[in-house]
C-alpha cells in the first residue's frame, strides 16, 4: 500500500472517532432539550421516548416553557442576571485591563508583591469570604443607612472584586504576547504613557479584552453561593431562582429542564456571536506563558 493511501485511511479513522466523540459530548445537551419537552409523567415513570396521544400523535410539551415561566418568575431572574453580570463584566474589564497593562509593561516597586497577591486570592476558598462580607454589608448599612445587601450594586461590587484577579492573569498573558516595539517607538516620538496605552496598546489588545469579558460574564452567570446570600427576592439571579424552584417542585423534572435550557440560552448566544475572539484571546497568553 502506498504511503499516502495509508495516511489517508488513518485520517478517515481518526475523523470517525472524532465525530463519535463529538456526538457523545453533545448528547447531554440534547438530552436536556429533549427532557424539557416531555410530560412530567413520562419522566416520572422513566419512559425514554415521547408519549403519544390517543390519536397516535407524538406529544411535544412546549407548554412546559410557558408553565415554567409562570411558576418561576423567570423574567425577573433573567433581567437581574443580565444587569448584574453585564455590569460586572464592564467594571472588571476596565479595571483588569488597566492593572494587567501596568503589570506587563512596568517593573515598578511592588509589582512582584501585587502579582503574587493576585495569585494568592485564587487559592482562598470562597466560603471563607462569605460570612465576613455578609456582616460587612450589614454593618455598613447600619452605620451609613445606605442599603447594600439585596441591591444590584452590592453584588456587582463583590463579583467585580472576585473576578478581576483572574482576568488580570489572562490579560497579562495577552499583553505579554503583543510585541513591545511599537509602543517604544511611540514613546521615542514623544507620546505620553497614557497616549501610548490608549492609542497603541489598547486597540491591539481588543480580542484579549473581549475574551476576558466573556469569561467574566460566564463566571458571573454561574455564581451561586454569593448570590444566594447577598441578593433578595427582587434582585435574585437565575441560579438562586432555579435552586428555590427545584426545592419547591422536587419531581417536576420537565419544568426544571425547561428552566435549565432557558438559563443556558443567553450564554450560548453570546458565545457563538463572539467565539472567534474567545479562542484567540484566551489562548494567546497561555502559550506565551
Amino acid at each position: 500500500m502506498p504511503y499516502y493511501a495509508k495516511k489517508r485511511i488513518i485520517d478517515i479513522i481518526i475523523s470517525v472517532i472524532m465525530l463519535i466523540f463529538l456526538a457523545i459530548t453533545l448528547l447531554p445537551v440534547g438530552w436536556m432539550v429533549f427532557s424539557s419537552l416531555k410530560s412530567s409523567t413520562d419522566i416520572a415513570i422513566g419512559r425514554v421516548g415521547l408519549s403519544r396521544s390517543l390519536e397516535g400523535k407524538v406529544e411535544v410539551h412546549w407548554d412546559n416553557y410557558v408553565d415554567m415561566w409562570k411558576n418561576v418568575n423567570f423574567g425577573l431572574y433573567l433581567k437581574n442576571s443580565i444587569i448584574i453580570c453585564g455590569t460586572t463584566m464592564l467594571l472588571a474589564m476596565v479595571f483588569s485591563t488597566l492593572a494587567a497593562y501596568a503589570l506587563s509593561r512596568f517593573r515598578f516597586p511592588g509589582s512582584d508583591l501585587f502579582s503574587n497577591a493576585i495569585l494568592a486570592t485564587q487559592m482562598i476558598p470562597a466560603i471563607m469570604y462569605l460570612i465576613p462580607i455578609y456582616i460587612m454589608f450589614v454593618k455598613f448599612t447600619l452605620m451609613s443607612g445606605i442599603p447594600v445587601k439585596g441591591t444590584y450594586w452590592g453584588i456587582t461590587l463583590i463579583y467585580s472584586a472576585f473576578f478581576i484577579p483572574f482576568s488580570i492573569w489572562i490579560l497579562r498573558g495577552f499583553f505579554a504576547s503583543i510585541p513591545n516595539e511599537l509602543e517604544e517607538s511611540a514613546r521615542i516620538d514623544g507620546c505620553s504613557a497614557i497616549q501610548v496605552f490608549w492609542y497603541i496598546a489598547l486597540p491591539l489588545a481588543i480580542p484579549g479584552i473581549i475574551a476576558t469579558g466573556i469569561y467574566i460574564f460566564l463566571t458571573a452567570w454561574d455564581e451561586l453561593m454569593f448570590a444566594w446570600v447577598l441578593t433578595n427576592a427582587d434582585t435574585m439571579t437565575i441560579p438562586v431562582g432555579i435552586r428555590l424552584f427545584v426545592g419547591n417542585y422536587q419531581n417536576r423534572f420537565d419544568l426544571m429542564m425547561a428552566a435549565a435550557v432557558v438559563a443556558t440560552l443567553p450564554v450560548v448566544v453570546l458565545f457563538f456571536l463572539l467565539q472567534r475572539h474567545i479562542v484567540r484571546g484566551l489562548t494567546a497568553g497561555a502559550v506565551k506563558g
Binding site: S96, P125, I168, V279
Partner: protein, 317 residues
C-alpha cells in the same frame, strides 16, 4: 551623564517614575484591600471564636476560644462537625486528582485529533467547546437527571441499548456516587483544556517532528519526547488551576443531590459542601472557618509543591 543619574534613583524616585502604573493598579489594589484582605483576616480570626447562631450578632466580639475549633475539626471524636469529615476529605482528594488528570487527558486527546487539516475544522472545534458554556449549576441539574435509575440517559444507553450491563445500577447512592460527580465535572471542563493545548500544539515547529521521523521515532515516542515537553507552560497552568478549582468545587454537587437541601451521601460529599452544611445548616460558623483555614493551608502547600516540581522540570532541560 543622564544614565548614571537614572541608575542611582532612590526608591522614591522609582516610584515617581512609574506613577502611571500605580494609577492603573489603584482601583484593583483598593478592591483587594477591602474585599479580599479584610474579609480573609476576619475569616481567620473567626476560626478562633465560638461563633454560632447565638453569638453571630456579636460577630468579632464573640468569645475567643483559642484553638478549640481546630481541636473540634481535627481531634475531638465527639464533635458533631467531625461526622462525615473524613469521607469529605477522601472524596475531595479522589475527585480533584481524577478530574484534573481526566480533563487534561481528554483535552489532550481531542486537541491531537483536531490538530490536523480537515474540512470543517473551525465548526468542530466550536461544537466541542459547547459543554464549557453550560453553567455548572445546569450541569449538576442535568446530570442529576441523566443518572436517574429509571429513564436516565446513562442507564438507558448502557443497559437498554448497548446491553453492557445486565441490571440497572443506581448511580446516586453508594460508591458509584463518586463517579456521578467526577464525570460531569470532566465533561464540563475538558473543552477549556483542549482549547489551551490546541493553541500550544500549533506553536510547535514541524521541523522537530520531521527530525524525529528521520530518526525513526514512532508516534508514542514523538508524543513523550516532543509534544508533551513543548506543551509544558500550558499543562503547568492547567494543573495549577485545576487543582485549585476542583478542590473548591461546589455548584455541581450541591445541585445534583437533593437539589441543594439534601445530603450527597458518603461518596458524594466534598469539602466545600461539607463546610457549607456545617456553617449554614448546623450554624457552626467558627468550626466552618477553622476547616476553611486548614483547607487553605493544605492548598498553599500543594501549590508550592507544584511550583517547585515545575521549576525542577524546567531546570532539567
Amino acid at each position: 551623564m543622564k544614565r548614571s543619574i537614572k541608575k542611582k534613583k532612590s526608591l522614591w524616585g522609582r516610584i515617581k517614575q512609574y506613577r502611571i502604573a500605580y494609577y492603573f493598579i489603584a482601583p484593583t489594589a483598593l478592591a483587594m484591600l477591602f474585599l479580599h484582605l479584610s474579609p480573609i483576616l476576619q475569616g481567620i480570626y473567626m476560626s478562633f471564636l465560638k461563633l454560632n447562631q447565638l453569638t453571630l450578632r456579636q460577630y468579632l466580639m464573640a468569645p475567643f476560644i483559642w484553638f478549640n475549633n481546630y481541636y473540634d475539626v481535627l481531634i475531638n471524636p465527639n464533635s458533631p462537625i467531625r461526622i462525615g469529615i473524613f469521607e469529605a476529605v477522601r472524596n475531595t482528594a479522589i475527585y480533584t486528582v481524577i478530574v484534573t488528570i481526566g480533563t487534561l487527558a481528554v483535552g489532550m486527546i481531542v486537541a491531537l485529533m483536531l490538530n490536523r487539516k480537515f474540512f470543517g475544522r473551525p465548526i468542530v472545534r466550536t461544537l466541542f467547546l459547547f459543554p464549557w458554556i453550560v453553567p455548572t449549576y445546569v450541569t449538576g441539574l442535568l446530570w442529576g437527571i441523566m443518572w436517574l435509575k429509571q429513564g436516565g440517559l446513562v442507564n438507558v444507553l448502557l443497559v437498554d441499548w448497548l446491553h453492557l450491563l445486565s441490571a440497572k445500577p443506581s448511580w446516586l447512592s453508594g460508591p458509584n456516587t463518586i463517579w456521578a460527580i467526577i464525570i460531569p465535572t470532566i465533561w464540563r471542563f475538558w473543552p477549556l483544556s483542549m482549547l489551551m493545548l490546541l493553541a500550544g500544539l500549533q506553536t510547535i515547529p514541524d521541523e522537530l517532528y520531521e527530525a524525529a521521523d528521520i530518526d525513526g521515532a514512532g508516534p508514542w515516542t514523538k508524543f513523550w519526547m516532543i509534544t508533551w515537553p513543548m506543551l509544558r507552560p500550558v499543562w503547568f497552568i492547567l494543573v495549577l488551576f485545576g487543582l485549585i478549582y476542583n478542590t473548591y468545587s461546589f455548584n455541581i454537587v450541591i445541585m445534583m443531590f437533593g437539589f441543594g437541601a439534601g445530603f450527597p451521601g458518603e461518596w458524594g460529599d466534598l469539602m466545600m459542601t461539607n463546610i457549607f452544611r456545617n456553617s449554614f445548616q448546623l450554624w457552626n460558623f467558627g468550626t466552618g472557618a477553622a476547616a476553611s483555614v486548614l483547607l487553605l493551608i493544605v492548598m498553599i502547600i500543594l501549590v508550592n509543591i507544584w511550583f517547585k516540581y515545575f521549576k525542577q522540570v524546567e531546570e532539567m532541560r
